[in-house]
Symmetry: C2
Subunit: 114 residues, 2 copies
DNA sequence: GTTGTATTCAACCGAAAGGTTGATCAAGGG
DNA sequence: CCCTTGATCAACCTTTCGGTTGAATACAAC
């Protein structure tokens, strides 16, 4: 896990979620697919701006897009979110293990990580 | 969970982890506290730059600092990492619930989230 | 007090992010 | 074949980010 080839993808994912607007988009998509226009409405920004956000999320593979006539609904890629929790938990668990003095667990988890 | 008052903090946390250098710092700190100089060494950037990164992480409360004479060791605040996984899992689980058609779980999780 | 070591502050710089407006493209409906 | 709708492309602007160098601070050792 946390393979070298996924490094850039992990980077894009964290980068993507750094923006609150994009997190809100993720939140919205968790309730089902939506088009750019639908996503743009609750925000006070233009569709073009939303479209850019989608592209960022798409490059991070956090969302995918299908085609439905002229609409292009955006879908959440929940699986990719797991890569983030995996990265975080990696270090969260190490620290917790240290607090408890579980050296065996610690040594297993803490070798050559990013 | 995901209280309104934590909103800014969550923002800073994602923002902080968006930078690969700062993620590497987190990784290093998971193996124990370190000073700015120690953290700067493996990188090819100046200590001043690292100091700035630490400040960003500190404002996100992902790390804390103590004082040891003129040294100011940085410690990982593993507890804060949980806030991130909590946010992510919130939506990851919603999607997984949808795939399984677990509407009850879905309705419970998906009301007025950020 | 002077020197030395660890860290931070301040000013600056180039690159990238997030936003806008205006033009353009794709797909259907009349 | 227009014309509308949904979405993207392109150019531009402003702010923020990550980095630098150089001066300043804090603390301890001598």
């Amino acid at each position: 896990m946390t393979d070298r080839s996924d490094e850039a993808l992990l980077d894009r994912a964290f980068m993507a979620l750094a923006d609150p607007a994009r997190r809100r988009i993720i939140a919205r998509l968790s309730r089902g697919p939506a088009t750019v226009n639908e996503l743009a409405e609750p925000f006070e920004i233009t569709k073009q701006a939303v479209s850019k956000h989608i592209q960022v999320l798409e490059q991070a593979e956090l969302v995918t897009r299908t085609r439905d006539a002229q609409r292009r609904p955006v879908h959440l890629n929940a699986a990719r979110l797991e890569a983030l929790t995996a990265w975080i938990d990696q270090y969260r668990l190490v620290r917790e293990a240290q607090y408890r003095g579980l050296d065996a667990v610690l040594n297993h988890l803490s070798k050559d990580k990013t």
